[in-house]
């Protein structure tokens, strides 16, 4: 098996607030291999975007980052990006690491022509490029995204949202990064454009072996475009594995609830998960999902569940599977730990009132 392009180990990103640190990303571990697309899903506010920015060293100055983000460039040894001087990680952003954003409308400088965006990006990383070389490479990249040459000197406001997103992708790709984080790249766009963008991203890995972390809350996109999927809840990855396996056979109760909440043509009644994602300043003890979990046990409220690798290769962090896989773990839950947690009912009733 090829070595991962990016290995994230126990990554933590905390924001300082008046109430105390917000644990937006709290001990996250995953790998992305060359040409692989990892889907990162979860509700709003569960730390997906922070995780994406944490990988690129783009967290605000007030945030503390801890753990390991090891980037292995082609032919090079891996190096840990966490704690790297700002100047050095800045040099990696662009030629090694790319980021595509959620809202393309505001991501281009309104006073700069598209051509100037490309000139700036290329000159930042490759010294001594002639204007002609820049033009050739920029136009090639834009053509790949279906933006005609005649628009090269236009201003951002002369493009639609979908076109701007394609320009943003072209801008990221012109430097040929091996690894790209796409942070909900289609959320702000209509469905036809969405399909177009997803197709472009899928072609990327085919043509250039680009690795992708695709952040989304659209599970349909994950099923369509991702090799593997990681489900995030309250700063943790609760389930991770082959996308088809996870969707066909969701293990973690949160994944199951998330999949049940998906609306499709066959949907008869709307399902939602009662309650809302927890406060990340004071997250619940034990399993963070236990207050909303339909199958929570008493022990779930006190002891954090271990991550277990299931026979399918899926990794899940839930006591139900942990006990099944390793019955001796039951002792950790304490006496009566397997009793169902009744509090769940009360919470959902209170929530509706």
């Amino acid at each position: 098996m090829t070595e991962p392009v990016l290995s994230v180990r126990d990554l933590r990103v905390w924001y300082g607030t008046d109430r105390g640190p917000v644990r937006a990303v709290d001990g996250v571990t995953f790998d992305v291999r060359p040409g692989e697309t990892l889907g990162l899903v979860g509700e709003s506010g569960c730390g997906k975007s922070t995780l994406g920015r944490g990988v690129l060293g783009l967290t605000p100055a007030a945030a503390a980052v801890d753990g390991e983000v090891v980037l292995r460039s082609t032919g090079g040894a891996g190096r840990n990006l966490v704690g790297l001087p700002a100047k050095e990680i800045q040099r990696l952003r662009g030629p090694e690491l790319g980021l595509i954003f959620q809202e393309p409308m505001t991501r281009l400088n309104p006073l700069m022509r598209i051509s100037q965006h490309f000139e700036e990006a290329l000159r930042s990383h490759e010294k001594g490029l002639s204007k002609q070389e820049i033009r050739t490479r920029a136009l090639e990249s834009l053509r790949g995204m279906g933006i005609p040459e005649s628009r090269y000197r236009s201003y951002p406001h002369e493009f639609s949202g979908g076109m701007r997103q394609r320009i943003m992708i072209a801008l990221a790709l012109v430097l040929r990064p091996a690894f790209i984080v796409a942070d909900e790249p289609t959320t702000a766009l209509d469905v036809l454009v969405e399909a177009q963008i997803i197709k472009i991203l899928a072609d990327l890995r085919k043509n250039f072996d680009t690795s992708l972390v695709l952040i989304t809350h659209n599970l349909g996109i994950v099923a369509e475009a991702c090799d593997r999927v990681a489900v995030m809840y309250a700063g943790h990855i609760v389930e991770q594995g082959d996308a088809r396996e996870v969707f066909a056979n969701p293990q973690h109760p949160y994944t199951r609830e998330l999949l049940r909440s998906t609306i499709s043509l066959s949907t008869t009644g709307l399902h939602y998960i009662p309650g809302s994602p927890p406060d990340l300043v004071e997250p619940p003890q034990g399993c963070r999902f236990h207050p909303r979990c339909p199958v929570a046990m008493r022990g779930c409220a006190t002891v954090e569940p271990p991550e277990v690798v299931l026979p399918t290769g899926v990794v899940s962090a839930c006591w139900q599977q942990a006990i099944e896989a390793e019955p001796s773990l039951v002792d950790e839950l304490g006496p009566g730990g397997r009793e169902p947690l009744a509090a769940v009912e009360e919470i959902s009733v209170a929530d509706e009132a």
Binding site: Q90, F101, R107, N109, P110, L111, Y155, H157, E158, L175
Partner: protein
């Protein structure tokens, strides 16, 4: 049609539309100036001669001055005087208002330009520093100073400046005898054109304190505007996007932050010119600066409505022209400013 030509075409259209829209604006302004003059009680004749002359004599003089004519007739005459840039002749000293503006306008222009230079040279760098280093000492000092300068009116700052620096800056010493031919009616330019550098230096020395006094009126707004715009533009989405492409931090701040922060400032600059003209009236009086503003005060004291009406009209027209120019500059900087 290539895209570039489409661009410049729309810029031309924008400029022409703005000029066309300025016409009704000027008309409304003229009506306002005219009506305000007529609404004020009394007229120049009764103000200066009331009590000295009998009623019949007053009426005769009023008739001679055209004050008995119907209002529309008077307005028509006023419009004609504006279109021909003639503005009539003053009552009190029988000078042509146009001559007053030509002779004294240069001094006001010099003073306003000096104040604008002071405000820009101080305001832009301080505002950028305060925004870049938000909540650091430089920002706290800049914010405090800008509030004080904004809150202090000219009639407070000008005497204070005189007291503190009047003698050291050479403000109090009389202007050296000028013997330069009049070409532009702008004293400092005339002296420079004549090659009389002693005179240029002397004028510049006398210009310093009034310019600062007047500039202080708007520098606070400059600092605050630039600061808040920079803070906002540095939080902009395109700033993060530029960082994500690995653009050097220095370029991110300068190219994406500063430039976008200065766009709204251009607009404010235009509005502040109107404020400067108002402030110039007081500044000229306090520093005995021979501009139109000082003349205006003198004429108001003499109730010389023709002179006041003429000068106020010129001020109003200048503000209209400046705001038009500002709109053009804005359109040049920001490609989104188009019709």
């Amino acid at each position: 049609m290539s895209n570039t030509s489409k661009q410049s075409g729309s810029l031309r259209r924008y400029i022409l539309t703005r000029i066309a829209l300025a016409v009704p604006m000027v008309l409304i302004l003229l009506i306002l100036v005219f009506v305000m003059m007529r609404v004020a009680p009394g007229d120049p004749i009764s103000a200066s001669q009331g009590g000295k002359l009998n009623a019949a004599e007053l009426a005769a003089r009023r008739k001679a001055a055209g004050f008995d004519a119907p209002l529309y007739q008077q307005f028509w005459d006023y419009l004609k005087s504006v279109v021909t840039l003639n503005f009539g002749t003053t009552f009190s000293d029988r000078r042509s208002v146009r001559d007053i503006i030509i002779e004294n306008g240069g001094a006001t222009l010099t003073l306003t330009a000096g104040a604008l230079v002071f405000a820009t040279v101080i305001g832009i760098p301080v505002g950028l520093l305060a925004g870049r280093y938000r909540d650091r000492p430089v920002d706290v000092v800049a914010r405090l100073a800008s509030t004080v300068s904004y809150a202090a009116p000219v009639f407070v700052t000008a005497p204070l400046l005189m007291l503190a620096f009047g003698s050291t800056s050479g403000q109090a010493s009389p202007l050296i005898q000028l013997n330069v031919p009049t070409q532009t009616h702008i004293l400092i330019l005339d002296a420079a054109l004549d090659g009389d550098w002693d005179a240029v230096g002397d004028i510049a020395q006398h210009l310093l304190l009034p310019s600062i006094a007047l500039g202080l009126l708007i520098v606070g707004v400059f600092i605050r505007m630039i600061r808040i715009n920079l803070i906002q533009s540095l939080q902009g989405d395109y700033i993060e996007a530029a960082r994500a492409r690995g653009v050097r931090e220095r370029h991110v701040v300068a190219r994406h932050g500063f430039r976008n922060a200065l766009v709204p400032v251009v607009t404010v600059l235009g509005l502040q010119v109107a404020m400067l003209l108002g402030g110039a009236v007081l500044t000229e009086k306090i520093f005995n600066w021979p501009g139109i503003g000082r003349q205006l005060i003198d004429y108001i004291n003499q109730r010389d409505y023709v002179a006041v009406q003429g000068i106020v009209t010129v001020f109003a027209l200048v503000v209209v022209v400046i705001s038009l120019l500002i709109d053009f500059v804005n359109a040049l900087i920001d490609p989104r400013v188009r019709y």
